[in-house]
């Protein structure tokens, strides 16, 4: 398309999904992702594709399970409490090796919380909020344009590894507008056929979608296959960004909206002579442990900044393993850290 347009993050995710060939979208309304639903309500029927406002988040994720079984690209979106309701369904998707995209426009929690931006669902997304040994690929966009490109990528990764993929956004990213170059729509017909999909047992043996076997030895084998795929994803798909880390003494570890704010902090800090850099994981699962480990060997401090009580912080500490200081600065409940607030923290570790 080439043409720059000013759009909300929610709309960009929706539009990118459409351009990635999403055929079926199912969701239940919730703030702050209402515009995503609305964009789909307007545009999916127009394109002859499926939009269903489900009776609940449980309904929606299980409709996704159905559509994914049949082999079409499919998506659902929600925000924190709604995502909690999808946990059983996500575990089933993972267990049944079904590709699907799930968007969480995170808000303040726990419980009903509020509708302001937050990053307090990182654990749920990356460690597995559902039951069982599974992982989703979790992508953490930092700007509105990146929300678009990562959504396109999400569909590709989902298909490639037969796995659910989550876009972990937040209320700010969903609500804000920013100029964006919308990616070109893919050619749906050119996507590889899914031989495993339950499209009707015509001229072949039946295909079965399932996440269970009552024989533990068989279920173990199914789990080993999942784990094999997770190791492959860890090998191939780790994505991250480093900003001004070359000479950095202090590095901020942050993702998503917080990372974006941190970029302003770098400018402010460098203006004051503090050698500050940024390590930004783009894949939150698989987490970029190795590059952060490497980086931690040559900095004094890795300051984790999150809109949470310290969740990604655990992964940072796992990577750093006490090689550097690993302090934490977090805001909670929908409060967004300000550049000045972060700078104040940075200064505590600058010498």
């Amino acid at each position: 398309m080439g043409e720059k347009v000013l759009l909300r993050g929610n709309e960009v995710i929706a539009e990118a999904a459409i351009r990635a060939g999403c055929q079926c979208y199912f969701a239940y309304p919730i703030t702050p992702q209402a515009e995503l639903l609305e964009h789909m309500a307007v545009n999916m029927p127009r394109l002859g594709r499926t939009f269903v406002q489900a009776e609940s988040e449980l309904g929606a994720i299980n409709m996704v399970y159905g559509a994914a079984s049949v082999g079409v690209r499919t998506m659902t979106s929600s925000s924190s409490p709604g995502i909690s309701l999808k946990q059983e369904g996500i575990s089933y998707l993972a267990g049944s090796s079904l590709p699907a995209v799930i968007v969480n426009v995170v808000r303040g929690g726990p419980g009903l919380g509020d509708i302001a931006p937050s990053q307090c669902d990182y654990f749920q997304a990356t460690k597995g909020g559902g039951h069982g040994d599974y992982h989703m690929i979790v992508l953490g966009p930092s700007t509105v344009p990146e929300a678009g490109t990562l959504t396109m990528l999400a569909f590709d990764l989902a298909d490639k590894y037969r796995t659910p993929v989550m876009i972990l956004a937040d209320g700010m990213l969903g609500q804000m507008m920013e100029p964006v170059d919308l990616p070109d729509p893919i050619d749906v017909a050119s996507l590889p056929k899914k031989a495993w999909a339950t499209t009707g047992a015509k001229g072949r043996d039946p295909n079965i979608i399932l996440s269970f076997d009552l024989d533990p030895e068989v279920l173990k084998r199914m789990n080993l296959e999942l784990q094999r795929r997770y190791r492959e994803i860890e090998k191939n798909e780790v994505r991250y960004e480093e900003v001004e880390t070359g000479d950095a003494d202090i590095v901020i570890a942050a993702y998503g909206t917080t990372a974006r704010i941190a970029k302003t902090v770098i400018r402010m800090a460098r203006a004051e002579g503090i050698k500050l850099g940024l390590f930004r994981p783009i894949t939150l699962w698989p987490f970029p442990y190795a590059p952060l480990k490497k980086l931690s060997e040559r900095v004094s401090t890795v300051l984790t900044v999150e809109m949470s009580a310290g969740q990604m912080w655990e992964d940072v500490r796992l990577a750093v393993a006490e090689r550097a200081e690993t302090p934490f600065y977090g805001e909670m409940g929908g409060v967004v850290p300000t550049p000045r607030g972060i700078l104040r923290e940075v200064k505590k570790y600058a010498h």
């Binding site: 720059k4 000013l6 509708i115 209320g171 804000m176 507008m177 920013e178 100029p179 902090v265």
Partner: protein, 179 residues
């Protein structure tokens, strides 16, 4: 160089749209830009606001703790945001509804009797454009013409083309009223 403005007022005063037009105009003018609304129930019946950041380079934080400007369309908005404005910044105040002076003296304060001016241009719904006109004059962040054109394009796209002349007049009115 980064400029930022918080536009705030009652639910019905059109602050969200004013912000969108400004952001789109700034983008058309070649600037990097972010637009961030307050959202959800707080808007209903109560107050609404949005933040526009415009810069030559990539915008860092779309939330600002020191906006360079504030457009306060009512008293609660002035009360809430006055202290945040950066030193030397600009405040546009709707003096029709705000019955107090701006307390700080390190700012460029422009009082516009928006409701009276609205009556003058013939439609109270256009007061957001009057305020925006005043803001453009005071800050010069985007040329008035670009704002006008952008407004016209956006209203036409939304099927509200018939309101373009009124809003153009309102932009002029605000622009001229700002000293």
């Amino acid at each position: 160089m980064e400029r930022s403005v918080i536009i705030a007022g009652f639910g019905g005063q059109g602050v969200i749209l004013a912000g969108k037009i400004l952001a789109q105009a700034a983008m058309n003018h070649g600037l990097e830009v972010t637009w961030l609304p307050s959202y959800g129930p707080e808007m209903r019946g109560g107050t609404a606001n949005c933040t526009v950041v415009m810069a030559n380079e990539t915008v860092g934080s779309p939330i600002v703790d020191e906006p360079t400007s504030l457009i306060a369309m009512n008293l609660p908005s002035l009360d809430k945001f006055e202290q945040m404005v950066a030193k030397g910044g600009t405040i546009i105040v709707n003096s029709s509804l705000v019955n107090r002076e701006v307390a700080r003296n390190d700012l460029n304060v422009i009082k516009l009797p928006l409701n009276d001016l609205g009556a003058k241009v013939g439609n109270m719904r256009a007061i957001n454009m009057i305020a925006l006109g005043g803001y453009v004059k005071a800050t010069g962040v985007v040329p008035l013409e670009v704002v006008k054109e952008t407004m016209a394009q956006m209203l036409e796209k939304g099927g509200k083309g018939k309101f373009v002349p009124l809003n153009a007049k309102a932009l002029d009115e605000g622009y001229n009223a700002a000293h």
